[in-house]
């Protein structure tokens, strides 16, 4: 039995039009202390339908800001963001997101939290309970339907958040360091789950992470970003079929390369930053 029986029987997946994300000439600035500070600088990226793209980079490189823009929580940017050709102007049920904190509503049970995501969809009421149950099964939480979020472990709550984001069948799922708060063991476990879900579901996914290994294990491509302002520095193709083997020599070689790039880059950036911002050193 497929764990995903409702897989869009009404909308046949046409590879060209499902979840193609286009980012062109994207710039984003924040006003900090009365000055415009550029956070994202000239971002250009095409994400193919059904692709898994990971974004890594030092903190401050604007990766989370990028996701907030794509999901539509922040619409103050210049350049273009398009999903399947349509310009992104606000939030939409076509774009789901999972945050680092699960953000399940603590006053609702797991089941109620997931069903709430269907509130503004045209899913018939009669089918909702079934769809919710299927998604709880998809993230292996059957039996915990009536649990309140504080009764779930960190990994379980995060899987529940993934189910909530997937239940609306978004064309594009954004993952903002979804496993960042989990311990190492749970993390590996949820990474495997995530890979399995993506292979079952095949919606386009864009994941931001600090963890290079995680980025490589899951991503078809890994976008390496550099900070101040956030730029795309390098795009790494991970030419390995899914499901992947963590021991693959290619993954380890790529990991070493990206880590070397990130650390050398970060040191350089930081040193330059210090020169600019510390008056005592500016004299020299």
């Amino acid at each position: 039995m497929s764990p995903y029986p409702h897989a869009r029987e009404d909308r046949p997946p046409t590879a060209a039009s499902r979840g193609a994300l286009t980012i062109s000439d994207l710039d984003k600035s924040f006003q900090i202390g009365g000055q415009a500070r550029r956070i994202l600088d000239n971002i250009n990226l095409d994400v193919r339908p059904g692709e898994f793209v990971s974004i890594v980079g030092a903190s401050g490189c604007g990766k989370s800001t990028l996701l907030r823009l794509i999901v539509g929580l922040d619409t103050d940017y210049s350049g273009e963001l398009r999903l399947d050709g349509e310009r992104i102007a606000t939030t939409s049920l076509d774009r789901g997101i999972v945050f680092q904190d699960h953000r399940l509503f603590p006053w609702m049970t797991l089941e109620q939290n997931i069903e709430l995501a269907l509130l503004n969809t045209d899913t018939p009421k009669a089918r909702r309970a079934r769809i919710v149950a299927d998604h709880i099964a998809l993230v292996n939480l059957t039996g915990f339907e009536k649990a309140y979020p504080h009764q779930l472990s960190g990994g379980m709550a995060q899987r529940a958040a993934i189910a909530r984001a997937l239940v609306t069948e978004p064309k594009l799922l954004l993952l903002d360091e979804p496993l960042g708060a989990l311990d190492a063991l749970t993390r590996v476990h949820v990474q495997n789950e995530l890979q399995r879900i993506w292979m079952t579901q095949r919606s386009t996914m864009v994941m931001v992470t600090h963890d290079v290994e995680e980025a490589l294990y899951l991503g078809d491509r890994v976008i390496v970003m550099s900070p101040n302002p956030g730029r795309i520095r390098h795009i790494v193709e991970v030419d390995l079929p899914h499901p992947r083997d963590r021991r693959s020599p290619l993954l380890h070689r790529l990991k070493d390369e990206i880590l070397a790039e990130l650390t050398s880059g970060a040191d350089a950036e930081e040193a330059r930053d210090n020169l600019v911002h510390l008056p005592s050193r500016e004299v020299r």
Binding site: V71, G72, L73, T91, S92, L93, R95, G96, I97, F99, D101, R103, F105, P106, W107, M108, L116, A117, L119, N120, Y148, H150, T168
Partner: protein, 256 residues
């Protein structure tokens, strides 16, 4: 619930130790000098007398009726005002300063004015009691809605909630702990205001009326009975509401 039942006798017994010691001390003191204070035995006789005549029951019921009528008017209005002020800034800007100034006047301070406008009677008492239930409900509900976390509102925006859905599914439940704190305070305040207005207006029946009549008649024993009943009832109402609150907030990790 089982745990509570099992724990209850021990807990209640511990809570009764100090009152029992006080009564013993009281008995010992008053049996020496009868004139200055009614001894426990006399108070017991007065209680039996008041129970027998039905006066105590009548007074208690009128007081309860008044307090809950005031609460039923003041608390919902206060919650509505507080939530509205928390959600819509213009409402807060226009109504907030006035309400915050008005609440500085002790509720009993409104009695003379209300008495002039509406006469001394049920209407005036009800207004003052409602007002004392209104303000704590308003303040706490306002704070509750104002401090709802941005990250939950973001989820609402991602799920395309409209205003009504945002209020119903995010703002109200997130504010519920403080709303209930406000209602708990409203409960205590309206109880105090009820006894207070009854004491001052002294019309009809009620525990406060009974107190002031006992003062006129110099019935120390009756006064002590009424005070004890007031204290015990107030305590009981508060306990019942605490249980209710715990069951409403069972989703909170701290409320188990």
């Amino acid at each position: 619930m089982n745990g509570w039942l099992a724990r209850f006798p021990v807990r209640a017994a511990i809570g009764l130790v100090v009152p029992a010691l006080l009564i013993l001390w009281w008995h010992w003191r008053t049996s020496a000098q009868i004139a200055t204070f009614a001894p426990p035995a006399a108070v017991g006789r007065a209680l039996a007398e008041l129970l027998h005549s039905g006066d105590l029951l009548r007074d208690t019921l009128s007081t309860l009726k008044r307090a809950f009528a005031g609460l039923a008017i003041g608390a919902p209005l206060g919650v509505a005002a507080g939530v509205a002020m928390g959600i819509w800034r213009p409402v807060d800007r226009t109504l907030g300063p006035l309400l915050h100034a008005l609440r500085q006047v002790p509720m009993i301070g409104w009695l003379p004015l209300m008495g002039l406008w509406f006469g001394v009677g049920e209407g005036t008492e009800l207004i003052v009691i409602s007002m004392s239930a209104f303000f704590p409900s308003m303040l706490n509900s306002h704070a509750g809605v104002a401090q709802v976390e941005r990250r939950y509102l973001d989820v609402g925006s991602i799920l395309r909630f409209n205003t009504a859905q945002r209020i119903r599914f995010i703002l109200l439940p997130a504010a519920m702990p403080l709303v209930l704190t406000g209602i708990t305070q409203a409960l205590a305040f309206s109880w105090i205001a009820t006894i207070g207005t009854e004491l001052l207006t002294g019309a009809g029946s009620g525990l406060g009326v009974a107190m002031s009549q006992a003062q006129v008649q110099q019935r120390l024993d009756v006064m002590l009975v009424v005070i004890a009943v007031t204290a015990a009832l107030g305590f009981l109402i508060n306990q019942i509401f605490r249980r209710l609150r715990q069951s409403l907030l069972r989703w909170q990790p701290s409320v188990q």
